[in-house]
Amino acid sequence: PSSPTTTLSLDEYKRYGRQMIVPQFGSLPSQLRLKQAKILVVGAGGLGCPALLYLSAAGIGTIGIVDDDVVDISNLHRQVLHTSENVGMYKCESAKLYISRLNYHVNVETYPVRLTNDNAFSIVSKYDLVLDCTDHPAIRYLINDVCVILSKTIVSGSGLKSDGQLSVLNFQTYGPCYRCFYPQPPSPDSVTSCSDGGVIGPAIGLVGTSMAVETIKVLTGYYTRENFKPFLSVYSGYPFQQFRMFKMRGKQKSCEVCGEKPSVTRDKIESNELNYGVFCGRVTFPPL
C-alpha cells in the first residue's frame, strides 16, 4: 500500500487540535493513525449516518460506504446525513456529498450494491475495520464471517424503537465474534427492522454516535489485547436514558467461524454453499 502518513498539514492541525489534546485520544500519533486508517461502513441508515458524520469529521483517511438503498422520505427523521433534496439518490452517494463538504481530507469510496457472498471478500479486504450498521441478521452473519476470515475488527451496532446495542467483535482476531455470542440465528418471526418496528431518531442516532467513539478507540490503539474485555453495551431511551456495559464471553472454541474447527470457510461462502438467507430463515436476502 501507500507509504505511511507521517505529518499533518496546518489545516489538519487546526481542524483536529481539540480532539488531539484529550488525554485518552493519544495526540499526534493517534491522529496519524486515523489518517492512515481505512474503514468500511456497511449501511448508511440510522446508525451509519451519525457514525459517518463523526468519523469523517474526526479525520479518518479513507471511508468506504456500502448501501444499495436509495433515500426515502421515511428515512429522514433519523438518517440525518440525507436531505429532502436527495430523496431517490443512493444513500452512499448522498452521504459522500455531505462528507466531502464537511471534511475534504477524507477519501470516500462508495458501493451502491448489496453486500453478498460474491462481493464481500473483495470489498472488505480493502479496509482495516468494518462498522456493521445493517438491518438484518443475515447480513450481520455475512459481515461477521468475512471479517473473521479476513482478520478485521468489527464495530457492531443495532437498534429498534428506543433501544440499542453496541459491541466490538473479532477485536484483532482475539476477541469473540458475532457467532460466539449468537451461535444460532434468531427465529425469523423475532426479527424486526426499524422500518417495520419503528425507531426514535436520536435513540438510534445515539447508538451510531457511540459506534464512532468505539471506532476511534480501536483505531487509536486505546484498546490493546491486554486491556480489551469482550462486552455488549445496551442503551435504553425510555423510561430514562441509560447505557450499560455487560461483560461478555470470550472467543468460543466451538465457534463455527473463529473456533478450533471452523465449518464456515471462504470457499463455502464464495461458492454460495452457505446461504445466509436460508440460515436465517429466509430464502432470499432482505434489503439492508
Binding site: L160, D163, V191, I204, M248
Partner: protein, 101 residues
C-alpha cells in the same frame, strides 16, 4: 425461606410482562437450592402475563436463541448458564438481540 432477586427485561423483551421492565421476584426456595433452571421456570409461571408469550421466551426447554441472559451484568455463559445457583440480591437481565439499524 425464599430467595429475593431482581429480574429485568430490556431490548423490548418487556412485551412479555405487560411492558414492565423491572420485577422484584421472590423465588420460593431456600438459599442454595435454586439454579437458573428454577428461576426461568418461576419467571415463566409468574411474570409472563400471557401464556402465548411463553414461546417468545422459551424454546426447547431453555431461553430462546436471540435472548441474552446476564447475571449481575455478566454473560451467563461465564457463570455456568442453567447451572448457576441463584442468590438473594442477584440481578438477572434478559435482553432481546436487536437487528435494526
Amino acid at each position: 425461606m425464599t430467595i429475593k432477586v431482581k429480574v429485568e427485561f430490556l431490548g423490548g423483551l418487556d412485551v412479555i410482562s405487560n411492558s414492565i421492565r423491572e420485577h422484584k421476584c421472590v423465588v420460593p426456595y431456600e438459599e442454595g437450592e435454586a439454579t437458573m433452571k428454577e428461576l426461568i421456570d418461576h419467571i415463566t409461571k409468574t411474570i409472563i402475563s400471557d401464556p402465548k408469550d411463553i414461546p417468545v421466551f422459551i424454546e426447547d426447554g431453555t431461553v430462546r436463541p436471540g435472548i441474552l441472559v446476564l447475571i449481575n451484568d455478566t454473560d451467563w455463559e461465564l457463570e455456568g448458564m442453567e447451572e448457576y445457583v441463584i442468590e438473594s440480591g442477584d440481578v438477572f437481565t434478559f435482553t432481546s438481540t436487536l437487528h435494526g439499524g
